[in-house]
Symmetry: C2
Subunit: 194 residues, 2 copies
Amino acid sequence: MKNILLYLPQGFEAYEASVFTDVMGWSREVGAEPVSVVTTALRPEITCTWNLIVRPEAAFESIDPEKFDALAIPGGFESAGFYEDAFDERFLGLIRTFDRSGKPIASVCVGALPIGKSGVLKNRKATTYDLPDGSRRTQLARYGAEVLDERIVVDQNIITSTGPATALEVAFRLLEMLTSKSNKESVREQMRLP
Amino acid sequence: MKNILLYLPQGFEAYEASVFTDVMGWSREVGAEPVSVVTTALRPEITCTWNLIVRPEAAFESIDPEKFDALAIPGGFESAGFYEDAFDERFLGLIRTFDRSGKPIASVCVGALPIGKSGVLKNRKATTYDLPDGSRRTQLARYGAEVLDERIVVDQNIITSTGPATALEVAFRLLEMLTSKSNKESVREQMRLP
């Protein structure tokens, strides 16, 4: 079974992480090709941008990247501490490791920024949240990415996206990348998505 | 500011709870009429159907229903223990209290079942997840509800819905009920939803 590592930075948006746990969870309940997920974080307890206080399943130090087929990264708010963990050098190193092996890296919203900061988006296409002042996209461009004004951008193994509205679609793209289109469609159907 | 109580039963689906925390969270970041959320549970720590281990903000015994304007209920899987907490008599009593005051009660998927079991759906319209064998809808009908085959059903103060696919829409309906259509639309826009 394919296995996704879901990184939970301080201040992550619960909605943008739950699409990965729940789409893959439904794939294990009803899919022909189930995919598993393990959550990890740098802290023993993470406070989401709003309300939820979450304990990761595995400590970051215990993670063996060899055991995972893909990396998933939700977005979050700076005011909630998102970049403290998203930009931590230990996590940026993990992104580079996944990218070197050509493993899928799927991000939602500003989850694209640590991918950019790690250096792996140089001369590659990507997108991120379009703050009214354009600052997040400018930041992504400074990391060397060619920033596109599209809801979801896939450049080889890397998926980036605009905002929370794209989160479910990012999770389904990742499911399809790891399994098959027909598996993705049967999971969508069981979740009653059109 | 209007205030929503979000009940987290053991085995809840993170996706179906995060729509409430995050839509209302975005309303506080960008909305003209912000809405707050407090999470509660019967246990000090809740294990979601998949992956996430969550600590509620407020103990159930400490909740004063007078301080809340609405109740939100996610669905979850029976195999993950959902009905242990969803059908607990203390929670069913809370549902009756909110309904007696005509306060909105919003549920996703099988979150409709505790509303039915509490008795407040007698002779009222509702819906829930359509398992292939129809058992969840039969169960809801046994509680006296008139079960409709619709994605979302609103009967006065009570919102019920079919499955995860409806979760975002349920949260937005609740936001609109508590504030206004224009506020809902501006929050949708900031979340980049069509």
